[in-house]
Symmetry: C2
Subunit: 313 residues, 2 copies
């Protein structure tokens, strides 16, 4: 990252263009995660576990999910400082999912964000435990006093994250994905199955990130539905873009292995590259439409969609 | 289990002797877990994941931790029906920890509660995901409306469980245990290290079970401290009894492998069998003393301590 001076929540958003805003948010999230990891030692966490959690969370990643929390919250005037803990919790869950998904028993990946994966840098048992600890601490962040001043909102955030990350969400999606891959049950060329898998595996946490901002902002039901709709479509766009990068990108600029999806149940495999690209363009319009109710304030979220769709790493 | 008629929360405790009470509580918890697993299908969880979660949670276990939740809550007049969801959440975390601890990369156990471990009955990736999903759903149970009618209590339960189960609690304790085992760093004969490891690995969740009952019961700070003290000592007693069973018990009656602790950092290894047995007897008296403030109402918790100390399986 380029130097952008002292990073304070107060400066976020002040007449920043999108790329600065995204980078600034990433710095703020990095700082919050750094603070979290730093606090572990004071609580008696073994140093090896701290180092593995540090490796899993710090020094990389676009931090798209926490950015969505901050941007969605900002629609309702929630200051970044008040949404940062929730944003960090969402990122902890994302990081835990990467650590576990990379394990030899799952996707067996050696490189992540240009660095060795946690089980490569440490070992498998440390990676499993670091993932478990990251998932656990995410709920502590949401339920603690930094999550929100109202415990009812904190409890609702916990329920929302658990639903998005759990058996009917992210973990369930990973299960469907691995079933196709590991159990010699090649996916039937069924768009519904692929959509369901992707909505669970990738979409649910992205949608929760948007809904969490709405919760922090005491959004109306209609506003929350609009943001959830935005999240759903963004999640799908994110996954299609990811699949296209896997098929067409190169490992060096992605910082992870490519051509990993061959044989997997992706939209590309079912519909082909051309139709996937068409769908992505159509989603861009749908995403912009979903944000109409928020007017100019939603420019950050609109740009986030363009960024997700057009990114090349 | 022997037939004890229809199991309803309302009948719990009515003039039951301890063994009936423990068995009845186990049935109630089993029923709540069955209900939870049943609800997963309606939410779209993949059948394979549901089956693995069912295998991990149902059909076995003494259910000591949820029993402690129910008994601690009952000290304050909380009906079993109101404490059962919290009790089930604690058991979900215990079950997840067994699934992950049994993995080849960790303790590499093939048998648990007399059945194949989850990675043996399914495979490693399914076991990792089932554990992840059980941990996640535990927080959903606590934070949801069934946890308590007051969201502030629900948020506090989430924080307490996350602290007990996380990097400075159960996961951290497992890390310390495996460090000694896997990294060729034989534990120094240091009682403090062993006590810290056991307090984290086993003690923290047992103590939380007791504190959760206090939270549900709106206990005073003094009452909560007394219950936490009871939990701390009970956790230590539990671990010493477990270590003695590992060293002296037989695999058939335990339903799991024995002599697994050889070379591990246990109190037995550091202090020897005779001193461990002395400590266990002393703990029995200390545990009874910790409950003095609750009078006759705490008979269930007193008996639980005797049960934990004298059990042979």
């Amino acid at each position: 990252m380029s130097p952008i001076g002292t990073v304070t929540p107060e400066r976020y958003g002040e007449s920043m263009v999108f790329s600065q805003r995204l980078e600034y948010a990433a710095r703020l999230v990095e700082g919050r995660l750094e603070q979290l990891v730093g606090s572990l030692a004071r609580e008696g966490t073994p140093p090896r576990l701290i180092e593995a959690m540090r490796h899993a969370t710090l020094g990389g990643g676009k931090r798209v999910r926490p950015f969505l929390v901050l941007e969605a919250a900002s629609l309702f005037g929630v200051p970044v400082s008040a949404a940062l803990t929730t944003a960090a919790a969402v990122e902890c869950v994302h990081c835990y999912s990467l650590v576990h998904d990379d394990l030899p028993a799952m996707d067996n990946d050696d490189v992540r964000r240009g660095k060795p994966t946690v089980h490569k840098a440490f070992d498998e048992w440390t990676a499993i435990l670091a993932g478990d600890a990251l998932l656990t601490v995410a709920f502590a962040l949401l339920a603690g006093p930094d999550g929100d001043h109202d415990p009812a909102i904190r409890a609702e955030l916990v329920c929302g994250l658990a639903a998005a990350a759990g058996a009917a969400g992210m973990v369930g999606g990973q299960c469907l994905d691995l079933e196709a891959d590991k159990l010699n049950r090649p996916p039937a060329p069924d768009l519904d199955h692929v959509r369901r898998l992707q909505a669970m595996k990738t979409g649910a946490l992205i949608t929760f990130a948007c809904e969490a901002g709405a919760l922090l902002g005491r959004a109306t039901a209609a506003e929350r539905t609009a943001l959830a709709g935005y999240g759903d479509k963004l999640g799908l766009a994110f996954q299609i873009a990811d699949d296209l990068l896997d098929a067409e990108g190169d490992a060096a600029s992605l910082g992870k292995a490519t051509r990993k999806d061959e044989g997997k149940a992706t939209l590309l495999a079912v519909a082909g590259v051309a139709r996937a690209k068409d769908r992505l363009r159509a989603l861009e319009d749908e995403i912009v439409a979903a944000l109409q109710t928020f007017g100019a304030k939603a420019e950050g979220l609109r740009q986030a969609a363009r960024f997700v769709i057009n990114r090349n790493s």
